[in-house]
């Protein structure tokens, strides 16, 4: 097995307002692979991304990039890692400076990373070409471009420093479906050609499953299930995953509709965070936090639910009830 490019161990983050946004999250990304993080709003997926990028400081645990703890780095060394570790944010309308042309926006990133001056011009042009932005747009301002074009620019900017890992935080969520597909294809193509790894954060299950090698499902700050992509559609093990995937709209599917809302992350339930909405919850669920267990002896597929060994799924249970 190759050395992971990114190793995050036991990350936790509690904000000043008491919200425990991320609670003991560990994940691994190998070179050239895509790991998806999926979950609903408030589950901590974006905060996890920020902790990994060290845009936020973690309360506990550590993030290692290529085996080196980035939490203790500073100055030049951190800057070097940031070259390798880039971000494509959700909303390019707000993440690109409205007063810089798109060429200047990319050049800005290169200058920040002390790229040789004379390379910047040609490199910017070739990056825009690489992501499919016509050269006629090179000197336009963000407001003159469509959402899809802007997201390509944001990708070009992330690519500019030859990163090994790009964190995509809801990178295609704001796009119309017909354009979203173009951008997803571009991301896959870039990965194939350049060997970049992605940490792909999204609430869109279909998109995450399509793009990812492995998928992590988060609920209320914790990872509830982790598996190879594809498995989750076919054999979801955690009742939350099952409910999440069965909620995707479409005709004639057996649906497991949850009752109630996400509990407040400032006051999460004791034991298992999902127990207040879980159709399978029993008394013991309130007592201790469930540990991740391997599903059917497959350690690449793990879920944190104490009832997994019993061989009942939420759907079969509801059917019986």
């Amino acid at each position: 097995m190759t050395t992971p490019i990114l190793l995050a161990e036991h990350l936790s983050k509690r904000f000043d307002n008491g919200v425990l946004a991320v609670d003991d999250v560990s994940l691994t990304v190998h070179p050239g692979e895509t790991v998806g993080i999926v979950g609903e709003s408030g589950c901590g997926k974006s905060t996890t991304g920020k902790l990994i990028l060290r845009l936020l400081e973690t309360d506990s645990g550590y993030v290692a990039f290529e085996g080196k703890n980035i939490g203790t780095m500073s100055g030049q060394r951190l800057q070097e890692v940031r070259k390798q570790l880039q971000l494509v944010p959700q909303n390019p309308q707000t993440s690109l400076n409205p007063r810089l042309t798109i060429t200047e926006a990319i050049a800005f990133n290169l200058r920040a990373h002390r790229w040789p001056k004379r390379d910047i011009g040609p490199r910017t042009a070739s990056l825009l070409d690489r992501v499919g932005v016509p050269s006629a747009y090179a000197h336009r301002y963000p407001h003159e471009l469509s959402g899809g074009q802007l997201q390509r620019v944001a990708i070009a900017r992330a690519l500019s420093t030859d990163p090994k890992l790009i964190v995509c935080d809801e990178a295609v969520s704001a796009l119309d479906k017909s354009v979203q597909a173009q951008v997803l294809n571009l991301l896959v193509e870039l990965q194939r050609d350049l060997g970049i790894a992605y940490l792909f954060i999204s609430h869109d299950l279909g998109v995450v499953e399509h793009l990812s090698d492995r998928v992590v499902v988060m609920y209320l700050g914790r990872i509830v299930e982790e598996s190879a992509a594809g498995e989750l559609w076919q054999r979801p093990a955690h009742p939350y995953t099952e409910a999440l995937f069965s909620s995707v709209p479409g005709p004639g599917r057996q649906r497991l509709v949850l009752t109630g809302d996400l509990p407040s992350p400032a006051h999460p339930p004791s034991g298992c965070g999902f127990r207040t909405r879980c159709p399978m919850a029993i008394g013991a669920c309130a007592e201790a936090r469930p540990e991740a267990v391997a599903i059917a002896g497959d350690i690449s597929h793990q879920a944190a639910c104490i009832r997994i060994g019993e061989g009942v799924t939420a759907a079969t249970r509801i059917g019986a009830a």
Partner: protein
């Protein structure tokens, strides 16, 4: 400023707030015509926004029918004109917006009513569920009083107390736990899903014949969306309402639609039974939209994207087919002649002469006037 301007609702204001300023003062005046049944029929609707510099034709002549008790899904991407159509039908735009065509609800011509008569219909016979639950409720008033207002305004309940009780019943009906408490809550005290339910409660308060829902679940998480969609289906069954559901989400369309009307650049490109339009699409745009959404079977990186991007509202080319610049099937004629909706199957119409050169299975009455040509 004329009186008319004052009475008219400014654009983009929710149905809930719309009714704030006037208590039922129209009580002695000539009663507004009441729709006899619940069919909403829209013919040749066109909506143009004008500013000093330009005119934006957001909707360019669309026709559709929401059968009583059935669901029509208006499907389209941003800028296609779907929300504008829905709001125009409810007459939520001011006089500054040019609206032509006809919209009838159970035989009553909505565009022919004076503003006061329209106000008494709106909320009682046709009601709106807006997208943005947070922006559509008055943040300074309790949820219960916002529901009660609709009831009293339409004289469903007269007394304050009775209206409040009925508000709690409605909140229970839309699945809000502890409705007695929700009645006393301010909007910010409720979650997003609960606020959306409260808006639905306002909309169904008078048991309207038609509910117009504008992207009602787009802002919600998927598990909450599933709850709300289920609620719509339940309410429809209980109250026999027609539903005009505006969405960009093909999955939502599939799940909910009796019929689907697909919009592109202000026009309908395809209309027909939900399963047919979203199963065996007859228009390249609909087919392209379906293929662009990843399914578990799609090989990675091989999504069939539609090239280019949808035109912004009113910016589409209007000689020939608006979709032609992005269409893989386009021939020269597509760029010069505008295709009309023609029958392509059983009560199924599409506006693409290239793809279905086939003989119509059944020639029914066409949904647009333009087809006479």
């Amino acid at each position: 400023m004329s009186i008319a301007t004052r009475i008219h609702t400014p654009p983009d204001i929710s149905d809930a707030r719309l009714e704030t300023p006037r208590p039922s003062r129209h009580r002695g005046s000539r009663p507004a015509p009441a729709p006899t049944e619940g069919t909403l029929k829209v013919e040749d609707l066109a909506v143009t926004f004008r500013s000093k510099r330009k005119a934006v034709e957001a909707v360019r002549g669309i026709s559709f029918t929401v059968e009583a008790g059935k669901t029509l899904v208006l499907l389209g991407e941003s800028g296609s004109g779907k929300s504008v159509s829905a709001r125009a039908v409810m007459r939520l735009y001011s006089d500054a917006v040019t609206i032509t065509g006809r919209a009838t609800l159970g035989g009553v011509d909505l565009f022919d009513l004076d503003e006061r008569a329209m106000q008494s219909l709106r909320g009682r016979d046709i009601a709106l569920v807006p997208q943005d639950a947070s922006g559509s409720l008055d943040p300074l008033r309790r949820v219960g009083s916002q529901i009660a207002e609709v009831l009293r305004r339409h004289e469903v309940e007269h007394g304050r107390k009775a209206a409040r009780q009925r508000a709690a019943d409605l909140l229970a009906q839309v699945g809000i736990p502890d409705p007695a408490r929700a009645v006393r809550s301010y909007p910010h005290e409720l979650s997003g899903g609960m606020r959306q339910r409260a808006l639905i409660a306002i909309a169904i308060a008078c048991e309207p014949k038609v509910l117009v829902a504008d992207e009602p679940t787009t802002a919600l998480d998927v598990t909450i969306q599933a709850q709300v969609l289920e609620l719509f289906a339940q309410l429809q069954q209980d109250l026999g309402m027609g539903l005009l559901l505006v969405t960009h989400d093909v999955g939502v369309g599939r799940q909910m639609a009796d019929r689907v009307a697909v919009m592109y650049a202000g026009r309908l490109v395809e209309e027909g039974p939900g399963a047919t339009v979203l199963g065996e699409s007859a228009h390249p745009y609909t087919a392209g939209l379906l293929r662009a959404v990843p399914t578990p079977e799609t090989p990675r990186g091989q999504l069939q994207a539609i090239p280019g991007q949808p035109p912004a509202a009113g910016e589409a080319v209007d000689t020939g087919c608006s979709f032609a610049p992005r269409c893989v099937f386009a021939v020269d004629a597509c760029r010069t002649e505008r295709p009309d909706l023609v029958p392509v199957g059983t009560s199924h119409w599409a506006a693409c002469p290239v793809v279905h050169g086939r003989v119509p299975v059944e020639v029914g009455s066409p949904p647009t006037k333009a087809e006479a040509s």
